[in-house]
């Protein structure tokens, strides 16, 4: 038997098995909705990052002669009750939303993953105690918990972020814990036969890909929900405080004038929706691409 030919056939077949991440990225790229979402999201992030440079007016610059202006060439989205340019305020407001969204998810995921790994890995009393705490936190609807925390700590952007972090931690704990338990169950058998020193390496090499997928999806959807929660809290008066612009706060401010000047509430809502929509589109695409069972 021709050994060279045999090894060539084998190696060409193994080369076809690309890395998992490459396959998943390819699947994601094919998903037009997800790519659309990514595009819009990038656009939003660019606006947020370069906000102060792009915005034509300062967000505090008032013009009391031109209040309640309808959309025009000078002010594409009109002016608000103090004559401030709505478009500029929307642009600067995106910074607040993005900040809250990403920072809160970063915080919640880090703490949640840590706690979840501890629960899953050690089990026993530690697991039981931590999960009881999580049960208590999850016994409240998340928005209400966030509102309660923010109410106690006082209004403001940072307290808002903290409140959202705390209300999102239980979700991450559960997901991580489930993944770790799942892998522990499987790897236990392999670990029994594997050489001792590679056990940890197996766990690290195998936990990460399996646990990472649901976490990535949770984070993406989490940013979307955080932005909605943040704007809801600002709407109530708890989040970002005036004169700092925030989409939810702008909606609240425009409420009194809704009858005659609906443009004040329309555009801020559209901005929220567009951002959240793009995140959800991307999140859906990620979930489909990362699902090992789904074969297109």
């Amino acid at each position: 038997m021709n050994l060279q030919k045999e090894s060539k056939t084998l190696s060409s077949q193994t080369a076809n098995r690309q890395s998992m991440t490459a396959i998943m990225l390819r699947r994601l790229k094919k998903n037009k909705t997800a790519m659309g979402g990514l595009f819009i999201l990038t656009f939003m992030m660019v606006i947020a990052i370069f906000g102060p440079l792009i915005a034509p007016y300062s967000y505090t610059e008032t013009d009391l002669f031109h209040t309640f202006g309808l959309p025009s060439l000078l002010h594409p989205f009109g002016t608000d009750e103090l004559g401030r340019d709505i478009m500029s305020r929307l642009i600067i407001g995106s910074r607040a939303s993005m900040k809250i969204g990403f920072l809160s998810m970063a915080g919640a995921s880090v703490v949640g993953i840590m706690l979840g790994s501890i629960c899953g890995y050690f089990g026993g009393k530690v697991d039981a105690v931590i999960m009881r705490f999580m049960d208590v936190f999850q016994a409240l609807p998340p928005l209400i918990l966030a509102i309660a925390i923010c109410a106690a700590l006082g209004p403001g952007l940072n307290n808002c972020i903290l409140a959202i972090i705390i209300s999102n931690i239980p979700g991450f704990v559960r997901i991580t814990r489930a993944s770790v338990l799942n892998i522990r169950r499987m790897e236990y058998l392999e670990a029994a036969t594997a050489i001792n020193c590679s056990t940890t390496r197996i766990i690290v090499k195998h936990i990460l890909p399996n646990a990472l997928s649901p976490l990535i999806v949770q984070i993406t959807m989490g940013v979307a929900n955080a932005i909605i929660s943040a704007s809801a809290m600002s709407f109530i008066g708890l989040g970002v405080q005036p004169p700092n612009p925030e989409w939810g706060a702008m909606l609240s401010a425009g409420r009194s004038y809704i009858r005659n000047y609906p443009h004040m509430v329309t555009f801020s809502g559209i901005m929220i929706m567009l951002t959240v929509l793009s995140l959800n589109m991307l999140g859906d695409g990620l979930r489909d691409a990362l699902d090992p069972k789904l074969k297109s």
């Binding site: 038997m1 045999e6 297109s296």
Partner: protein
């Protein structure tokens, strides 16, 4: 097997030149590439091959439960008692499923609905095909439970309360409840412990003999074939490469692949240092080799094997092989 002049009514089931492909995301997988075989009444045919050779696809194609998309039957006739099943409208085909042809699946752990009692799941197939009252269907279900060795008072138990072997027996009870003429058994014992395997295979064979049911037994285990089948068809890359009675196949295997399969079995009698597996890997079904699909792994491969179609040769009466290199009496 495939003598063209034989009347198809001698057979219960005749499959002629079946071709099935799976298309997804632009790639086409050639799962079944021109398979033909016949099964007589009361006879059992073993379909032997590696995982991915197309065996389950053939069974599902016969029953008409291939998911379309992504599967598509490109070509072929599936003749049950003189009628081509492919021409039947779905409504008529449903009457065939479970009543004339039924199927046992590979994994008993997931084959039963976890929310329904086992008794109700057996009664369901009875109610579908026989015009009987609910009470009578329940009685029949209890009868079937007893027949497969499960006490009838477990009618109201749920699948999770049974072991794997017993779940598989419930599946068999469902399959045989309406006394089908043909049973498609897709690796019915692969997922079970070896000791339970023997029990379940014995039971299937006994019931088959008792009810005179024909059987298409899909397996990758030559031992199971030796115990339970009359004839054997060896499948490789979606094609039948050898077809013979059980005795002929075991005594006089002709195709290089079959020889390889036997060569890779451990022996109870002799002492062997190493097993001789077949070198190489099964071909990529998206990209089958030209000519004979087995030629890249075949030690006898010659130039003519690499291109063109491969003839069927008759090694001995009713023993056919799909190969250039076999020394045979005549071509068919």
């Amino acid at each position: 097997m495939l003598k063209e002049n034989m009347k198809t009514s001698d057979f219960l089931l005749s499959v002629r030149d079946l071709k099935v492909v799976y298309t997804s995301a632009g790639a086409t997988v050639h799962a079944v590439n021109g398979v033909s075989f016949d099964i007589r009444r009361g006879e059992s045919l073993g379909l032997v091959g590696e995982t991915g050779a197309g065996k389950t696809t053939i069974a599902k194609a016969i029953l008409g439960i291939l998911p379309d998309p992504p599967a598509k039957i490109l070509n072929g006739e599936i003749i049950l008692e003189d009628g081509d099943l492919r021409n039947l409208p779905e409504k008529e085909m449903r009457k065939v499923r479970g009543k004339k042809i039924s199927m046992i699946f590979q994994d008993p752990m997931t084959a039963l609905n976890p929310l329904l009692t086992v008794g109700d799941q057996i009664a369901e197939v009875v109610l579908l095909h026989e015009s009987v009252s609910k009470k009578e269907a329940m009685n029949k279900a209890m009868e079937m439970l007893e027949m497969v060795g499960i006490p009838a008072d477990r009618y109201a138990d749920f699948p999770h309360q049974f072991s794997g072997g017993m779940k598989q027996r419930v599946v068999i009870a469902i399959a045989l409840a309406c006394n089908p003429q043909l049973l498609l058994a897709d690796e019915p014992t692969t997922a079970l412990d070896v000791t339970i395997q023997a029990q379940v295979m014995d039971m299937i064979s006994a019931l088959q003999k008792k009810l005179n049911t024909s059987m298409l037994l899909i397996t990758h285990d030559l031992g199971v074939v030796a115990e339970s089948c009359d004839n054997v068809a060896v499948i490789y890359a979606g094609e039948i490469v050898e077809y013979a009675s059980k005795e002929n196949l075991f005594l006089d295997p002709a195709h290089p692949y079959t020889l390889g399969l036997f060569g890779s079995l451990p022996s109870l009698t002799g002492d062997v240092d190493r097993l001789t597996p077949i070198p190489g890997l099964p071909p990529d079904p998206e990209n089958l080799p030209d000519g004979c699909s087995f030629h890249p792994r075949c030690r006898y491969a010659a130039e003519e094997c690499k291109h063109g179609s491969v003839p069927f040769k008759e090694v001995s009466p009713d023993h056919f092989v799909h190969c250039h290199m076999c020394h045979c009496e005549k071509e068919v």
